[in-house]
Symmetry: C2
Amino acid sequence: MGEGADKITFPVIAERAGVNPTTLYRRWDNVNALLEEVAVAALTRDGESAPDTGSLEQDLTEWADIIARDITRPERVRYLRAMVAARAETVSNCPVTETRRDQASEMVRRARERGETAPTASQILDHVIAPLYYHVVFALQVDPEYARRLVRDVLAMVR
Amino acid sequence: MGEGADKITFPVIAERAGVNPTTLYRRWDNVNALLEEVAVAALTRDGESAPDTGSLEQDLTEWADIIARDITRPERVRYLRAMVAARAETVSNCPVTETRRDQASEMVRRARERGETAPTASQILDHVIAPLYYHVVFALQVDPEYARRLVRDVLAMVR
């Protein structure tokens, strides 16, 4: 973790937030748990829902574009790296992934109702979400065209 | 970064390695650069080459299986997380990714010579390598069946 991230401690957060550190200790087991909750809250702000354009390709393209822009913002990159750093043990559920899975499932459900052939929500997570997050955490380039290419690839799997 | 990783400093490494810290400072700009080189050296040990079974599906399946087993070892997980932590700026080339790209390109080249329809090396990186590493750094479960599923998906893109 970078210099700055090492300095994120309960006393530091408490001072900046104007609360007693005890309040934080009571609410979260550790700083990482707090950061994870912050990340999820940020990821799902404004009751974020999946696009509904009437076409799965268009839905996924807009959705991937929103995510690509979102997770490459400096503060989001820091959260994601903090999450990576926080994960000492294997987790069965990642809150970030679950939010994305819900959105993907919703788009797939609507596509199937319209009679479109659709990949599974898991395939969308594996082949659109995972590469985007992989690029961000390993500091590789992410641009809108990359996100669009991932969407085309996942749709090609079921054509 | 976890408690242990914070303690990886040049003086600590120097002591454990029985060399003068100055030697390390001369060779690497910082500990992260050293760790990255260690990771790459470990990843490419024994002059690792891509499988050559005569079938792209079998090559990719064996290759993904080797990688899945390799990157879930505790020491490899620590290296990968250290790499994530070290990447403050966007990098144009990730040595780990480049090693995998070379291997993927080699398997694709042989498949095309045999007349097989093959995805591109980039597609293999995006849809097999990225999800595997994503799972490892976010501490999600990785098992051999998951790796096989990713291979089936990437091959389905070109069928």
